[in-house]
Symmetry: C2
Subunit: 308 residues, 2 copies
């Protein structure tokens, strides 16, 4: 079975959408990433940091899904990273109400010994120097390194971001971030510029408008499933990325045809994630449900045309 190492936040979120609001609930990029990847046959391990306020039962819940949590450092006197946000009516935009870094402020990632040779490495959205610190603990280059990042690091840690981009195979970012990173409005041109920064594959997440996979002059598009109701978009991008790398790790195959399937699986899983607040929907999602939705993706996208 492939070893998948996931680096990212394990956190508390408080979320407000037009449909309701939550108290502090479980969140964090690594949580969403690992829950999505756990739908595939992989040995996953999270590298992260939490405070002593984080429920031990949730770590056990992750362990029960074959997610190794021994790389999640627990700071005895610390408090877990907390984010709070409020979505606007269209759910496409949100205001951050609070960001309390807490234990994340001094996070020094430590990769557990048994995951120092991962086959797949997922660098969740974190300071690029933290992402680099993980890469430096891994002596042999993994089969595939996927990095997620955001505009904040482009504004505040450009040089560090450029350094870590040289070390990765795939970058996942949203369309506005791709434009900011490349200085190009056309996503085709943006991908070409980003290749020159390091990643051979560029995955551009467009939320309700789907996702594009660019590689070597080729492009593939996975739509988002049109849904009657989107309840909470939090974590959708991480769920997408977790489904993407989880599928690749589960099949141990990174050729382009398989990458296409991986973005479809990413979009598939993300379409569930948004149906409930936080990680709730991902916690009881079954393979049967995923397979049924895969049929919907086929009906949504597949056509049969002979040339004129």
């Amino acid at each position: 079975m492939s070893k998948l190492l996931i680096v990212g936040t394990v956190a508390f979120d408080a979320i407000e959408t037009p449909f309701g609001k939550t108290e502090k609930i479980i969140g964090g990029a690594a949580t969403y990433l690992s829950l999505a990847a756990s739908q595939f046959k992989v040995d996953s391990c999270i590298v992260s940091v939490i405070g002593n306020d984080f429920p031990k039962e949730y770590l056990e819940f992750l362990e029960d899904r074959n997610i190794d949590t021994s790389g999640i450092e627990i700071v005895p006197e610390g408090k877990t990273f907390f984010w709070s946000g409020k979505y606007h009516n269209d759910l496409n935009t949100r205001d951050t109400l609070a960001t309390e870094l807490n234990v994340l402020a001094n996070f020094q990632p430590k990769v557990p010994e048994k995951f120092k040779e991962p086959d797949f490495l997922m660098l969740g959205n974190l300071h690029p120097s933290v992402q680099m610190a993980v890469i430096q603990q891994i002596p042999k280059r993994p089969k595939l390194v996927v990095l997620d990042t955001m505009n904040y690091w482009m504004d505040n840690a450009w040089d560090e971001l450029m350094e870590v981009l040289k070390k990765v195979d795939v970058i996942t970012i949203n369309d506005e971030e791709a434009r900011q990173l490349s200085g190009e409005y056309s996503l085709v041109k943006a991908a070409q510029k980003i290749y020159s920064m390091g990643p051979k594959y560029v995955v551009i997440k467009k939320g309700e408008h789907g996702a594009l996979l660019f590689y070597d002059g080729k492009v593939f598009f996975a739509p988002a499933l049109p849904l009657e109701e989107v309840f909470d978009p939090t974590g959708a991008g991480d769920t997408f990325a977790g489904g993407f790398i989880g599928y690749l790790a589960g099949t141990h195959d990174i050729n382009f045809e398989n990458m296409k399937r991986a973005v479809i699986y990413g979009s598939n899983l993300a379409s569930f994630s948004v149906e409930k607040f936080g990680t709730r929907r991902m916690e009881y999602l079954t393979k049967d449900e995923i397979n049924r939705r895969l049929q919907e993706f086929k009906q949504l996208t597949q056509f049969d045309i002979e040339l004129n």
Copy 2:
């Protein structure tokens, strides 16, 4: 061969984009619609109105493409409808600089005798009462009636729009207009509400984000082809609709599988239209180019997944 009747504007446009600006050039919904439809084996006819300032050579050019222009009334002392607009840097939004209705102000459509029994009817974006006046000249319901409209008529001619919607099979609108028409944010729910207004098929155009086809609980998605350069979006929606109905008319088949192909062809043709100012690209587009791009659409969307 199917008879396709197209009602819409034949106009002059002056366009400014970040890449340049034009003097008065040929434009209008019916022009784009008919140029796109002329790529398929159909007998088309335009119903419209122009002034004596419109070049006769362009009518001859349309006639050469098997587009009957006998339904284009020429008002001897009149001036042709003129629209001028300036696109913003992202090309997704634009400001209207001038709208001179001219001969369009008193347009009373007259369907030529030999097109009074069309197989396919395309009602381009016009006042709903003008669209209705065309329907009333056609004694036998066509195989398919497609209507395009816009937010302006929702704001200013709601009752007339509701009346004409009862008479059509397919509506093509953009996502914001679908939301305005239905009062629903979710496009899935919007389509359901719009069904109850008359159309059995709802085509939602999302510009660079592709197009959705809704019918009877089913949904199909045609992406827009990611392009290196988009030069001028003017007429892309009409080119899409013209490709859609042109393909259906050319194949004389309106089952849902064929409608899927039709939205792919619509998106295919629209991807060319935006490559040059105005109608320029559509005027020398060849079937070979369309077929090559069809292969690109297949590569963009087609995947092969077995269930886990």
